[in-house]
Amino acid sequence: MTVLQPVRKTPHFADTQIEMAHGAGGIASRRLVEGLIGSYLSNPILQTFADAATISVNGSNVATTADGFVVKPLRFPGGSIGELAVNGTLNDLAVSAAKPIALMATLILEAGLPTSTLESEVEAMAIAARKAGVCIVGGDTKVVEHGKADGMYVSTFGIGLVDGRVRIDAASIQPGDRILLSGPIGAHGITILLARGELDLQADLVSDTRPVWPFVSALMDRCASGVRWMRDPTRGGVATSLNELVRGTAYGVALYEDCVPMHDAVRGACELLGLDPLHIANEGQFLAVVAAEHADAALAAVRGVAGGEEAILIGEVRAEPKQRVIGINGYGGTRVIDMLVGDPLPRIC
């Protein structure tokens, strides 16, 4: 295994305290991770700030990822924290083109948590892992005082074997490449928002949480050489993922806004609350940049897997405007699609 030398850089993080925004997955999260954490822990692998870190072990490329889950409420329509922890970790590996091998999970439990709740979450983890064909091979359990955690938190570590046929690299994207999206956006974020009950809104909507590996694997089998980049657009949504894609490149992305699929209820909730669906979290979707000549095959491959029927091409890489994501609507109107700033807050007046 390669021995990595830490490179110490000067921290560049001026905020005096941690806010919720630093965990929301947008610009503030990026500043925290790169400006403070990255400056102390800096090394060539961390520097890529990818979903998973690839290390080479005796000639094999191994993808590793760590994730934390603090969702409230613990159970929500379509999923729960345990299930989310497994799928979320697996998805970070999948979009790094890595076939998952094993997971570890640490449970942080609040004193007073009903055993039945814990049991159903552990069961949910077991079911999700079994479905994905991986084992949870280790972990840790800690209990904190009552009032110090929202029931339970889950922290995970995942490991997978990188598929040698693809090279996931934002720097390899080219103007003309297509952006593929696996299905309707925003279902997870809106489901959670409604499940908290604070807004008194109801909808027939479930989280999209699911493993994306079956789609990714079909995509790679069909056109491995055409796949340039993948990402699961979780916190911060599609807008944030695409901005992260272009910021390190010399190109931009044009998004055909009216093509982006979403459930009616996601759209309704976003209109009502003044939110941008492109900023809302997803837990069962992925974005892929695919070479134009492979785009139709890629789409067919994802659509051919059950649950991938709504996959669609939503845009393309363009030479201009550089490092920006632009939305284009049906009559040629354009807007800049920015990263999420802070938490998505309902706009009311």
Partner: protein, 92 residues
């Protein structure tokens, strides 16, 4: 200013001036106390702002407006000018 959005009344409460309203599949209780008593019924569309109905939407007015605007476009064959969704040729 003042984000307000159309929704359709699903049902009206008996005692309070409250209506259950559907906005694209999302439902919420909306206070209809700013409208005249009996002004709205299930099936009607209202404009919602901060949980209150500001006004009942006049379907006829909306219809007339759209018909007039549509006619404006047709004579200019504007539809042909609709841009967007034009993917570039694959780069070689």
């Amino acid at each position: 200013m003042c984000l307000a959005i159309p929704g359709q009344i699903v049902e009206i409460a008996e005692k309070e001036p409250l209506a259950r309203v559907n906005v694209g599949g999302v439902t919420r209780n909306v206070n209809v106390g700013l409208l005249d008593d009996g002004a709205v019924a299930p099936g009607d569309w209202i404009l919602i702002h901060v949980g209150f109905a500001l006004s009942k939407i006049d379907e006829g007015q909306a219809h007339d407006q759209l018909r007039m605007l549509r006619a404006m476009g047709e004579d200019g064959l504007a539809i042909e000018e609709v841009r967007g969704y034009r993917f570039a040729e694959p780069s070689q």
